[in-house]
């Protein structure tokens, strides 16, 4: 395959940045998207150029490191697929592929396609936990949980913290990410004692960090690589109202 790549290059946070176009020949359809970028970087290095910086680690769709905005969509054209799981079979020979970093006021660019997503850690720090100090836990089976409830909790808990929901949202809202944790812990009896405090603090923190508000656009759900449902935002809203009462 021969493709044209239009890639966002930016030396550092202070740099203005801009698109650079690369013609890449010899791309194999069997490559993963990141292997295609590896290949581009090899050719750049061999020509004395500077390789494109991008983030990745597990390359099996679970660590949440990778996250590229490909042809206008976070993680590219395949549904429920992370960038690292994306294959070049999804692209036609001769096509142009535009690659940008995840864009959000809360995600400053570090270099090229790498952004700083530490704001998501800050939200978690505000309340994304159960205060279960090691040593104090009761016998595990003393807390029975209805199977359907546990299944629902794990659907929320499957969030990998990649930030695609933020990049997809026209408001730059992190609400799907916040709701995944709020919902998981609200569904479990262990999480109830801190539920009110948790939802208030996490939502406040997201506001404070410059994430936008949710206006029910639904782009987050459509682009979430793990299929986290917008219904969790509904649960978050219920929890939020309940906490205010």
């Amino acid at each position: 395959m021969k493709i044209k790549l239009k890639i966002w290059r930016q030396a550092n946070a202070a740099d203005k940045g801009g698109f650079v176009v690369y013609d890449l020949d010899g791309v194999a359809r069997e490559m993963s998207f990141l292997e295609m970028l590896d290949y581009l970087n090899t050719t750049l290095i061999q020509r004395g150029g500077d390789p494109v910086a991008f983030e990745h680690d597990c390359r099996e769709g679970i660590c949440g490191s990778c996250g590229l905005f490909i042809n206008g969509r976070p993680h590219g054209p395949a549904t429920q697929t992370t960038t690292c799981e994306l294959r070049m079979t999804k692209f036609e020979d001769g096509s142009t592929i535009v690659i940008e970093p995840f864009r959000s006021r809360a995600f400053p660019v570090i270099r090229d396609l790498i952004v700083d997503r530490s704001a998501m850690d800050a939200i978690m720090r505000a309340g994304g936990f159960i205060s279960a100090t090691a040593g104090s836990a009761p016998e595990a089976n003393s807390i029975p949980i209805r199977r359907e409830r546990a299944d629902e909790a794990i659907e929320a808990a499957a969030c990998i913290g990649c930030g695609a929901c933020v990049a997809a949202c026209p408001n730059g809202s992190a609400m799907l990410f916040v709701s995944a944790k709020v919902s998981q812990l609200a569904l479990l009896p262990q999480g109830r004692p801190e539920a009110a405090e948790r939802v208030r603090r996490m939502v406040d923190k997201a506001d404070e960090l410059g994430f936008g508000h949710c206006s029910n656009v639904g782009a987050c759900e459509a682009e979430c690589p793990k299929g986290v449902k917008i219904a969790h935002i509904a649960r978050l809203n219920r929890e939020f109202v309940r906490a205010a009462l």
């Binding site: 570090i110 808990a157 499957a158």
Partner: protein
């Protein structure tokens, strides 16, 4: 050899940990705030340790190379975590879990450590459930268990195929809670390049800030490495591509002995390598072997579609060779059996280097829905990566480099041969002998982090409460920083023609061919020479572009591969020195007539412990004898 005192407490096996806890020195809660602990790595071991140590009141400085602690590769463990709860009433107990691990490790692990790991496993499950880890439930609302390879009970807790992710996020939530309370400070995007030793004690680290390129010095009263394994030495492996041995190797160079480096687990159920650009091999959980049956055609080179090959023309070779355990034999056994069939010409797929893992029968018997409930997300992942639908045709799998049982040598307190330097989780060697059983890794990592290290490190720190915080301008910090800078300068200065990845690929091929699933003297000797040549070529012709004072991912990779060149040689030396087969270490010269691993207990019932003596100098081999007082040593048979 006083340095190799394992400090195993006295008393009967079942009482050792309790006795030890009763006799260690404690640190007064008010004094803990005066003590700083540096913790490197935020996988399940590191995150759970950070959480527990923060709760106790220590100041914990946590370092990871990722952008956030939540991404460490524990996140990718799929199948489960073991505990001896006996919820299934199938005769399980702490002793049986201990016994299974010792046997699974082919009698090359330390009894006392393994027993303790089994003992704390139950408490770990309690802790995880309390922290909100959504383990699978039965309709009753109670926790579900499933069985895993190498054992005959069901003791594995799981959360779909996301067990590692859920356990890690549980530990991460404990970590960030402590961060919120100011007890844990997280330093992400840092690579640890050197360990600083002052007056014979680990007192700090030198790190490279991966965003600015700045070299930073950090000091503490103790240093803990929770840096995971080095399976990426094979280039292609099931690990995250960022996994590395840099911090562990830095510790080794500073005097921490390295134990059983050649004990590497080759996992039987990975996706096969399909082409030369491939950057990683994806694991398919071992839990699939509960319902999936492994087979190859009985006829060599049979190119028919698997669905059209009739039942009596299929060779279910694991069930044939191991009727008792069948598809649930331990990983090393399953991997070698797959290699044997493929080498003999029965492999399937274009390359002939894969075997079938078939759910046809299970779907017929249990229904698609039931299989989907158990393995849905794994099937989905397989479909995404291969375009083949495992509900309709068998998966194709092949063994891949996975887990390293070897690692830094530690005593019962999880302390290395450098006082004050601890190693927990996969980065140490202690619990899995020559082969780890499935669902044992999450168990060990969380046990080490939540419950064991917090006790043993307190014992070490108990006489340090009057030791003031160390300024980072002492001569040891200065010289360690200089070593780190020199290495980076040297890598940049080569300015050759070949990329770092091309060297890594070549090293990986040498390791896979000659120090992988099957080893022999000729191959290992050849590999030692080949790595030495490759290392020279690397330092003569590697190309690291860009600058040091910015994000430079090629430089990060170059540091990693430079370490792997040295570690690779140590693996080969270790494999060469152990002329027996045991667990995952299979020496062709030592096998039974049926081709099973043959141990030589009279000569090799020890841990091989290597001491670094300088670059280019032969390392020294020490031996920690293994004493078995509570299990009868037998031939390890799964037939």
């Amino acid at each position: 050899m006083t340095k190799l005192d394992a400090r195993i407490p006295g008393g009967p096996l079942a009482d050792k940990w309790a006795n030890h806890k009763n006799s260690v020195h404690l640190v007064n809660p008010a004094n803990r705030a005066k003590l700083d602990i540096i913790l490197v790595g935020t996988g399940l071991a590191g995150a759970s340790a950070a959480s527990s140590l923060g709760e106790l009141g220590y100041n914990v400085k946590v370092f990871c190379f990722q952008d956030t602690p939540r991404r460490a590769h524990s996140v990718a463990a799929q199948g489960g975590i073991n505990a001896a709860k006996n919820y299934k009433n199938d005769g399980d107990s702490v002793y049986r879990l201990f016994y299974d691990i010792i046997k699974g490790g082919d009698y090359r692990a330390r009894e006392a450590n393994v027993y303790r790991a089994a003992e704390v496993s139950n408490q770990t499950i309690d802790q995880m459930v309390a922290a909100g880890v959504p383990f699978a439930r039965e309709y009753s609302g109670y926790l579900d268990n499933r069985s895993f390879g190498g054992v005959q009970v069901s003791r594995t807790f799981y959360a779909k195929g996301l067990t590692g992710q859920q356990c890690l996020l549980g530990a991460y939530s404990g970590l960030i809670r402590q961060a919120a309370m100011g007890k844990v400070t997280v330093y992400p995007r840092r690579d640890v390049l050197e360990i600083v030793v002052v007056d014979g004690q680990a007192r700090g680290i030198i790190v490279r800030n991966l965003v600015t390129g700045a070299i930073e010095r950090h000091s503490g009263h103790a240093v803990v490495l929770a840096t995971g394994g080095y399976g990426t030495i094979y280039y292609l492996s099931t690990l995250a591509v960022g996994s590395k041995a840099t911090a562990a190797w830095a510790a080794h160079r500073k005097g921490a002995f390295f134990a059983n480096p050649s004990f590497v687990q080759i996992h039987p159920t990975s996706l096969p390598q399909l082409n030369d650009f491939q950057s990683k091999l994806t694991l398919m959980s071992e839990s699939l072997r509960n319902d999936g049956r492994i087979w190859v055609p009985k006829q060599k080179g049979d190119k028919r579609h698997p669905n059209t090959i009739p039942e009596d023309e299929r060779d279910y070779y694991l069930e044939r060779r191991y009727p008792t355990f069948g598809n649930l034999v331990p990983r090393d056994v399953a991997s070698r059996a797959a290699k044997e069939r493929c080498d003999a010409g029965y492999g399937v797929g274009d390359t002939g280097l894969s075997v079938y893992l078939d759910f046809g029968g299970a779907i017929q018997k249990q229904g698609k829905k039931s299989i989907e409930a158990k393995y849905g997300n794994l099937f989905e992942m397989y479909f995404k990566l291969t375009g083949s639908n495992p509900y309709e045709e068998p998966m194709r799998i092949y063994p891949a480099g996975h887990y390293t049982m070897g690692g830094l040598w530690v005593d019962y307190n999880l302390m290395t041969t450098i006082p004050g330097l601890f190693s927990i989780g996969e980065s140490n060697f202690s619990d899995h002998g020559a082969n780890r059983l499935g669902a044992g890794s999450l168990m060990q990592c969380s046990g080490d982090g939540y419950f064991i290290l917090p006790v043993t490190i307190g014992d070490y720190l108990s006489d340090k409460i009057k030791v003031p915080r160390m300024p980072v301008d002492g001569p040891e910090f200065v010289s360690a920083e200089k070593d780190a800078r020199d290495k980076l300068d040297r890598l940049m200065a080569v300015d050759g023609k070949q990329t770092v990845a091309s060297f890594h690929k070549r090293l990986g091929k040498i390791m896979w061919d000659d120090c992988g699933m099957v080893r022999n003297e000729a191959g290992l000797t050849r590999a030692l020479g080949a790595i030495a040549d490759l290392k020279q070529e690397f330092w003569r012709d590697v190309k690291v572009p860009g600058r040091q004072d910015q994000v430079n991912q090629e430089l990060e990779k170059a540091v990693k591969v430079a370490d792997f060149m040295e570690l690779g040689q140590l693996l080969c030396r270790d494999a060469l020195a152990r002329k027996e087969s045991c667990g995952a270490h299979f020496r062709e010269e030592s096998q039974t007539p049926e081709g099973e691993a043959k141990r030589i207990d009279s000569e090799y019932s020890h841990v091989s412990v290597w001491e670094y003596r300088g670059e280019g100098v032969e390392p020294v081999l020490h031996k920690e004898p293994l004493v078995f007082e509570n299990v009868e040593i037998k031939e390890r048979s799964y037939k």
